[in-house]
Point group: C2
Chain length 385, copies 2
Amino acid sequence: MSVTAAQGFVASGVTAGIRPSGKPDVAVVRSLPRAVGAALWTTNRVEAAPVTVSKRHLAVAEPQAVLINAGVANAATGDQGEADAVASAEALAQELGLETEEILVLSTGVIGVRLPVDKVLAGGRAAAAQLSPDGGAAAASAILTTDSGPKVAVVASGGFTVGGMAKGAGMIHPRLATMLVVITTDYPLAAGEAGVFLRPAVAQTFNRISVDGDCSTNDAVVLLANGASAAARDDAVFADALGEVCTDLARQIVADGEGATVVLEIGVTGAASGAEAEAIARRIATSPLVKTAAFGHDPNWGRVLAAAGSAPYDDGFARLETGRLTVAFGGVAVFAAGAPTGAVPDSSGTVCRIDLDLGLGDGAAGYLASDLTYDYVRINAEYTT
Amino acid sequence: MSVTAAQGFVASGVTAGIRPSGKPDVAVVRSLPRAVGAALWTTNRVEAAPVTVSKRHLAVAEPQAVLINAGVANAATGDQGEADAVASAEALAQELGLETEEILVLSTGVIGVRLPVDKVLAGGRAAAAQLSPDGGAAAASAILTTDSGPKVAVVASGGFTVGGMAKGAGMIHPRLATMLVVITTDYPLAAGEAGVFLRPAVAQTFNRISVDGDCSTNDAVVLLANGASAAARDDAVFADALGEVCTDLARQIVADGEGATVVLEIGVTGAASGAEAEAIARRIATSPLVKTAAFGHDPNWGRVLAAAGSAPYDDGFARLETGRLTVAFGGVAVFAAGAPTGAVPDSSGTVCRIDLDLGLGDGAAGYLASDLTYDYVRINAEYTT
C-alpha cells in the first residue's frame, strides 16, 4: 500500500528503460484532493538538478504530485540537467492538468550522466495513465536501485493514515547513493504546516542513520497531506504516527545497507548537551573501527571509547570525562567509572546494541548504523565505471 | 640509523615479552648532551595514561629520554594505568641517572589492558644497558605492531642532521591504532623552541594523513634537540629538514596503512580559505566511497564531488559552487566548470592523484590517504577479542 494507504492518493510504477537491468524505474504519486506538502533535502553543496528544480517549485506552490526516476541521478549535469528536470515536470503537469510548479521531481542513480529525457517523458506519461489507489506497491518498486526490496511503512491512527515508501542502501553501483522517501497522509494540514511536522520527525530518524557516513547529492524526504480522511485534528497523534513511519523506514534503510549483516543501535546518554550526545553518537556510528568490529561480532569497547573521545563539536570535541564513562554492549556494562569491568557480553546476534553514558548531564541521542563488511567493499570497489 | 643519525643520541630496542609474537617491544632513545624537546599529542578526549603522564613531565622539565613499549596501549586503564606509567618512568630515570620528569613514556597496543609492569621495567633496564649510537635500527623495530616494517627517515643538511622513526598502520590487532613518532636532531635549539618548529611541521604532515579517519588514544610525536652538531643556526634550513623528515614518515605510514594497496594524493586549491581547503581535503580523504573507488582503480569523480560538497566547516559546510569546480584524476580534468569533460584518465597505478580546484579563492591544502580494501575489513573484523 505504502503511499496509497492514505485516502485520496493514487500512484503507479512503470518500466521506462532507464535502468540497464530492465526493472521498473519511473514512479508517480499524486493526491486527488488538493494537498499541502513539504520536503527536506540533502545538505550536500553539490546539489542535483532535480533538487534545485523542486526547491524552486516548492517556493511558489503546494506540491500535488511527485515524479521519481531511478537509474540516473541527474547530478553534476550542469544547466542541461536543470533543463531536463524542468522538462520532465512540465510534461507530467500537462498530463495531469496541474501547474509545472505543483510537481516535485526526484532522481536517483548514476552521477554525472545526462537524464535520458525521452525515456523519462514516456515513462511519466505511462505512469500518469496507470495512476491508481492500488498503485502503492508498484511505485515503491520503481524507485529502487541496489535495494534488496521495497521499503514501505503504514500507520493508521486517530481516524487517519500515514503511509510511506523509501529507497536507499548506501549507494548505486557503480556511483553514488541516494535516499528518497515519499510519505502521504490523509490527515488534515493547512498550507505551510507540513514542514513543521516533517522537520522534527526527520531529525530523529533519517538524520540519525548511517550506512557509510557519505551524504548524497539527491537525498529527499517528501510529505504530502490532503485531509481526505476528514479526521479531527489531534496533532500529537499525527506527529507520533509520522514519527513511527519515519522510524520504520529509516531502520529498513540501515538493515538493507550495502553489504550489511548487523544493525548497530547506538544510544548516548548523560551528555553535557543534546547536540554533544548526537555528535558522539554520529562519530561512533561512522567509525570504520566500530563498524568492522560489529561485523566481527566483537564487543570492542576500546574502539567505542576512542571514537567517542574524538567526536567533533564546535571548534573542538564533545565534552567527555573518561572517569565518568559507562559503556554497555547488549545491556552488559563492559566499562564503568573509568575502568574495564571484565564482563564479556554476548555479541553473536544481528543487532549490536551499544550504550554509552557520559555521566555529565541530560543530553541524549540515538543512532542506527550498519556494519562495515567485505560486501560493502566489493559493491563499491568492484564495479568500475 | 633513524633516531641515532644525529650526533649525541643513543638508542636501543629489546624483547621484553609484552607482544605475544615474541618480537622486540621496548625501545629507549636518549640524548647524551642535555637536550630540549617538545611533543604533540593525540587530541582524543579519551587519553591514554602515558600521554597524561608525559604531558605532566613536559610541563616541568626538558625531556632527555623516551621509553616506548609496544603490545599494550595502557589506555582506558584508570588510576592504575597512570601509576604503571609513572613507575616505568621512575625506573628508567634511576637507571639513566635522570629525573623522572625528564622521561617521556609512550605506549602502543591493546586498549583496556593493564600494562605488564614487571616486563616493562625489566625491558627498560635491559634497553638502558644496551644504549648505543648504533641502536637506531633496533629502536625503530621495537616500536612496531601491525606495521609491515620499520619506518625511518634521515635528512642531513646545513651541518646538522634530523632523524626520525615512526610506527602506525591504522590500528593494532585486535584493538586500536596508535601512531608514535620520535625525531631527534643535533641542531641547536634553546629551551621552549622545539615546539615552535614541531607544530607547523606536524600540521602539514601527520595531521594531513588518514588511514581510516579514526583518532587513537595514544598518538604522539616527539622532537628532541641536543645541539651536538655545533652547526650555525639557520632556522629556515632546519624547518625544511624537519618538514622533510615528517613528510617522509607520514607517507610511509599511509603507504603501510592496514590493507592499503593505493596511496591517494589529494590536492585542494582555490578554496575560500585555507581552513576550508583542509576541511574538504579531509572529507575526501575519509570518504569510504572515494577510498573503495581507489581500491577499484575507478576514477570516480562523482564520489569526490559528493564528498567535497558535504565537508563540515564551522556550523555548516565548506563553501563550494558546483559551476566553478574542476576535478582532475592524475592530472586529467574529468569535470570542469560544472560539467563532465568526458575524459577517461588512467587509474591503474598504486598512486591515485586527485586535484580539486574550487575557483573561489587562494585556500589550498593537501592530504594523503590509503584506500579501503578487503584486507582492511579482514584485519579489523576477523581478529576478535
